[in-house]
């Protein structure tokens, strides 16, 4: 049976059938044959410059680079013939002559491609008697430590910065043996994805600065988990030693993060060990003092008993919570404390969990690969989901995906068309007046990406959503084979909160109502679960305020009782990403000292105050969660929800969309506690100042 798109060849006399257009190196990989390489990377362009992957092709006059050479019908390839082996050995020797071989003091040692390849394909001695080259190190900012003498000039970092991150700041200057890899101008990289260059660098030239000299890879244990620094749920591997998180790397996941993660996901982990709440605290006059769990519970029980009526009790939840956290908090508020004054939408959004299609990324992140036109409404994907933005960029560059933006001005690293920044543009698109309408119409797979942060908290959000629904309907953004209506959630807990109805379900007060009641001194017991967008000043006024969270926060000043909870690396839990895909994070380390996993806190507290909540184990809790929202049942699968109408007819306000993210490196309490993120934010702010000044001068 012959298929036009299949090619049959032999590699080391083994018959291999692969798709047309496959490179020899990939074909070899598919059949389990490893070809040594350095510069080749499947997600970057192929310069074929390291020359390590040379193989013999029968009939070719010399050894050919297997990364660049495509398979051909009946080709006979040898990766281990004398010619191939001599080529590989020779290149390896040349690669090493100027490499410092300082493995004993190199952070890469133990997970270094050059070490591995040298052992497998190199020679055990060199003939090099001249002096080795030394290269001055470069300063790439607070995240990446450079030892440029180790650089083997594979140009992966340059290609990543130019092709994926879209910040063409890395380069090779000089030529021949004087070629140096670095930035054109010495400065920190202006990318939210720069840490990925550390993974890409096959040697120890680019290493993590915060991780430098803190551990050896063979001492580390690792746990695969899910990142929650933004809403896409990048797959990560948490490396830890002795109960401390030492490093975070990405795990390949084609559907979500390919193999990249943002710098916030990678480098904010020092925030897990700083400003942590490690014991329950109780207010004594102006100060807070440590107390035991029983004392804290007792105080809460008393405060709850004193509350005159359920309506005098209220609870607000932040955005860093898993399904277990949210479900147990919701149940604690609504069942134990019997109040409906509960809200996890502290940004003021009034959207509910009805019609799931209106708050998730319906096409799936992978859907971006199919889109040919994207209308971005009130979002800045570069800052709200950098990895997702890189995916858009990839498609813009490779197949002329076009992107239009209605929203605050932003540089997304690829060409975009910007309309005036006001929401009423949507009216014009709906009526067909605006040029974007034509583009939506002409596109085969049009996509809309709505930024939750800048859109859904607006007063006219229901009207905007209605208009977007009309647009989607009218321009076939949603049709039989294509579901291109997407909401981008930056907040990792928001979708689960909507799925699990962590908002008033009967006549209770929502965030605005609670804040008003607080101001009117009508709230007697306030439960603050985690930090949120609300400034602490607005949270004053309750007789008793309880704060439950992982980090010491500004909310401590209004709190009377504080309970220490777990951070995302410290609990096995379900997270709903922006696509509405459930994923499980795994407990890598234990919560610090007296801190406890959140659901256990609510379960224990409920038993103190009234009947215990109906779950004793996490699996019982999971069963309840699935019962309430069946979407949590199937992990890691993505099922687009049914397309239903949503929104409210009415006028859209002639208001601009706000910048969805003000401080990229400071979007949650972990990042705020992180020193590394603070440094990054300071740099970003300084840069913004300079840019603003330049704009003024210009």
């Amino acid at each position: 049976m012959s298929d036009d798109n299949q090619i049959t060849l032999t590699i080391n006399d083994q018959k291999v059938v692969v798709d047309k257009g496959t490179s020899i190196i990939e074909a070899a990989k598919q059949s389990g044959i490893e070809v040594p390489h350095f510069c080749y990377h499947k997600r970057l362009s192929t310069p074929a410059n390291c020359r390590m992957c040379l193989v013999e092709i029968k009939g070719a006059p010399k050894a050919m680079p297997s990364c660049y050479t495509m398979v051909g019908q009946d080709m006979e390839v040898y990766t281990n013939s004398e010619l191939a082996q001599n080529s590989q050995k020779g290149v390896m020797e040349l690669m090493l002559i100027n490499h410092p071989l300082d493995c004993p003091i190199c952070d890469q040692a133990g997970e270094c491609d050059l070490q591995d390849m040298a052992v497998s394909y190199g020679s055990d001695r060199t003939h090099f008697k001249e002096e080795k080259r030394a290269v001055p190190d470069k300063n790439l900012g607070p995240l990446i430590r450079t030892v440029m003498t180790r650089c083997i000039h594979c140009t992966r970092c340059i290609r990543f910065a130019t092709e994926v991150a879209g910040v063409p700041e890395m380069c090779a200057t000089g030529r021949g043996e004087n070629m140096q890899v670095g930035t054109y101008v010495e400065k920190a990289l202006e990318s939210e994805l720069s840490g990925n260059m550390i993974d890409l660098c096959p040697v120890g030239a680019l290493c993590s600065k915060p991780y430098a000299f803190t551990a050896r890879p063979w001492e580390l244990e690792h746990t695969d988990s899910v990142d929650v620094m933004d809403g896409i749920g990048s797959n990560i591997r948490i490396f830890h030693r002795g109960g401390k998180v030492m490093r975070i790397d990405p795990v390949e996941c084609e559907d979500i993060n390919e193999e990249w993660i943002s710098d916030t996901a990678r480098f904010s982990y020092d925030g897990l060990n700083r400003s942590r709440l490690t014991t329950p605290l109780r207010r004594k006059g102006k100060s807070l003092e440590a107390c035991g769990w029983p004392q804290a519970f007792d105080a809460i029980k008393k405060a709850a008993g004193k509350a005159s009526k359920p309506d005098a009790i209220a609870g607000l939840a932040g955005d860093m919570f898993s399904a277990e956290d949210l479900y147990s908090f919701n149940a604690f508020m609504k069942t134990t404390l019997k109040t409906d004054n509960v809200d996890a939408r502290t940004d003021g959004s009034t959207m509910t969990g009805k019609h799931r299609c209106k708050y998730v990324f319906n096409s799936g992140i992978k859907g971006i690969d199919k889109a040919d036109f994207i209308l971005i409404v009130g979002a800045n994907p570069r800052l709200e989901a950098p990895v997702l933005n890189a995916r858009i960029r990839k498609n813009v560059l490779s197949k002329r995906l076009q992107v239009a933006v209605v929203g605050a001005p932003c540089d997304l690293t690829y060409p975009t068309m910007h309309s005036e920044n006001t929401a009423i543009i949507l009216d014009q698109i709906a009526s067909g007046e605006h040029p974007f309408a034509k583009q939506l119409e002409d596109a085969k797979n049009p996509m809309i990406i709505v930024g939750a942060a800048a859109t859904l908290a607006r007063k006219d959000a229901p009207q905007i959503m209605y208009r977007l629904y009309t647009i989607a309907d009218q321009y076939r953004v949603v049709n039989k084979d294509w579901h291109g209506f997407n909401v981008l959630q930056q907040k990792p807990g928001r979708i689960a909160a909507l799925d699990l109805a962590v908002y008033p379900e009967e006549k209770g007060k929502d965030t605005a109502g609670i804040l008003k009641a607080l101001a009117d001194k009508k709230i007697e017991l306030l439960v603050l679960y985690g930090e949120s967008d609300i400034p602490p000043e607005s949270l004053k006024g309750a007789k008793t305020t309880i704060f439950i969270g992982s980090h010491l926060s500004p909310y401590a000043e209004v709190a009377d009782i504080i309970l220490p909870a777990a951070a995302y690396t410290e609990k096995t839990a379900l997270w709903m990403n922006t696509e509405g895909r459930a994923q499980e994070s795994k407990k890598a380390v234990a919560p610090p000292m007296q801190a406890k996993e959140d659901w256990k806190i609510f379960r224990a507290l409920s038993a103190e105050i009234a009947d215990p909540l109906p779950f004793d184990t996490q699996s019982q809790l999971r069963a309840l969660i699935v019962k309430r929202a069946p979407v949590f049942e199937n992990l890691n699968t993505f099922v687009p929800p049914k397309w239903e109408s949503f929104g409210l007819a009415g006028h859209i306000l002639d208001n601009a969309f706000e910048q969805p993210v003000r401080s990229f490196y400071k979007t949650n309490e972990i990042m705020r506690a992180s020193q590394v993120m603070t440094e990054c934010q300071d740099l970003a702010d300084a840069r913004a100042d300079v840019n603003a000044k330049q704009r003024k001068v210009g």
Binding site: T46, K62, A63, G90, L94, M95, R175, G176
Partner: protein, 439 residues
């Protein structure tokens, strides 16, 4: 087939009649020497026919590789969405080579006329001439010649009412040898770092800015008009089959009269040196070796030099090449180890650095040459050196690395005893020193 063995060309037969700069290089002088005559007729000839004539003439590229020009031009696709480009490589940097320099300086209109015809034949409306950065006067003359041609109506829109449009842009390099490699030249022209590209795609498919592009050497392009005007027959009377035509030889080194001279192809090397360059200093018997085609071509021994014919095929048969036809003559007074070490240093300096073997290898080879040519090392290291050249050769993106290794391989092959003598001498000296010290 009887091959007329011409050794000198009559003024009539010379293509570069003002190569020595004795006459006026401006348009007036060029027209007086017969230039631009019959151009309109050629521009009315169908490109297809022009290419056929070039194929019949067996004109081969004069830049080094010797690829048949007619065939190269036939690879260009018809103009569709994207424009076709002609790019002229005037980044003449191969040590020993200075022929394009004199063309640009003293007969720039030969190139301009060649470009007009070239563009017409290739369906290109635009030509870029990439001139070596150090060629300041040369670029200036070329630009003046272009301006004159515009003024005379030989360039611009609807040239000589033939509906042919041609524009020429002169672009100067920044002093990198590697930009003479055609794809590195394109990169540089596009404003990027001059580094050779991987092939495929070949420039004829996706060259400058991703458009179909033909890249030719200055001399090649300038030779096209006379071939078309005087006919294939005239052209093929010079040189052996498959090597026809005239060629500029740049003769330098240990000769009495170093020069650029246009001579028939397949001229015996001995005749070339003796008749045109005033002979070897100290006489033919004082000859040590000859580099026949620019520094990257392996050298010929004196014995080989005695009988060799200067054309592509003859030189290839003896393991070297015609290259740019830059003949570097070395006599017995030449310190050949020093010369080859210097050439090695040149390549170390000029590698673009993207391929591992080249980036690391050329420096290693030069350092070994530096040491061993002074006797600092062991005799076994000579074998080592040869092995290193073999680890580099054939393992890189472009032919630069091969060209950097061949001269070293050549000197090891022909003059190994000289290295050994140096090493032994140094050993003896250090022994003496040691005994002197201990005494």
């Amino acid at each position: 087939m009887s091959v007329k063995q011409l050794h000198t060309l009559s003024v009539e037969d010379k293509i570069f009649k003002n190569l020595d700069g004795s006459d006026d290089w401006h348009i007036k002088g060029y027209e007086k020497r017969g230039g631009y005559k019959g151009l309109d007729k050629i521009l009315k000839t169908a490109p297809k026919d022009i290419i056929e004539q070039l194929k019949a003439s067996a004109l081969r590229g004069r830049g080094g590789a010797g690829f048949p020009t007619g065939m190269k031009w036939s690879f260009m696709p018809p103009v569709e969405e994207k424009p076709n480009y002609l790019v002229v490589n005037a980044d003449e940097s191969e040590p020993g080579t200075c022929k394009d320099r004199d063309i640009l300086l003293y007969d720039p209109h030969t190139l301009v006329e060649g470009i007009i015809i070239g563009c017409h034949s290739l369906g290109a409306k635009t030509c870029y001439v990439y001139v070596r950065g150090e060629y300041i006067d040369e670029a200036d003359h070329l630009q003046k010649a272009i301006d004159e041609a515009y003024e005379a109506g030989f360039l611009g829109k609807n040239i000589l009412k033939t509906k042919v449009d041609v524009d020429i842009h002169v672009h100067t390099g920044a002093g990198a040898y590697i930009c003479g490699e055609e794809t590195a030249l394109l990169e540089s022209l596009e404003g990027k770092k001059g580094q050779p590209r991987m092939k495929p795609p070949f420039p004829a498919g996706a060259g400058l800015y991703g458009c179909p592009t033909t890249i030719n050497n200055v001399e090649t392009v300038a030779q096209v008009p006379p071939i078309l005007k005087k006919g294939v027959k005239w052209w093929t009377q010079f040189g052996r089959p498959n090597n026809h035509g005239t060629k500029i030889f740049s003769i330098s080194g240990a000769v009495n009269k170093p020069c650029n001279v246009e001579a028939p192809m397949s001229i015996p090397l001995k005749t070339l040196i003796e008749e045109h360059a005033g002979g070897v200093i100290g006489g033919w018997d004082n000859l040590l070796a000859v580099i026949p085609g620019g520094s990257s071509t392996p050298m010929l021994s004196a014995i080989q030099a005695d009988t060799i014919l200067m054309d592509f095929d003859a030189l290839r048969e003896v393991g070297t090449g015609l290259g740019t036809a830059a003949v570097i003559v070395m006599n017995k007074e030449t310190d050949i180890l020093a010369v080859m070490t210097r050439i090695s240093r040149f390549y170390k300096h000029e590698s673009c650095g993207q391929c591992t073997p080249c980036r690391e290898g050329v420096g290693w080879v030069w350092r070994m040459m530096e040491r061993l040519s002074h006797g600092d090392g062991e005799i076994e290291e000579l074998d080592q050196l040869f092995k290193v050249t073999k680890k580099v050769e054939g393992h890189t993106i472009c032919a630069f690395a091969d060209g950097a290794m061949w001269p070293v391989q050549g000197v090891l092959k022909h003059f190994r005893p000289l290295f050994e003598a140096e090493i032994n001498k140094a050993k003896k000296k250090s022994k003496q020193n040691n005994t002197a010290k201990s005494a």
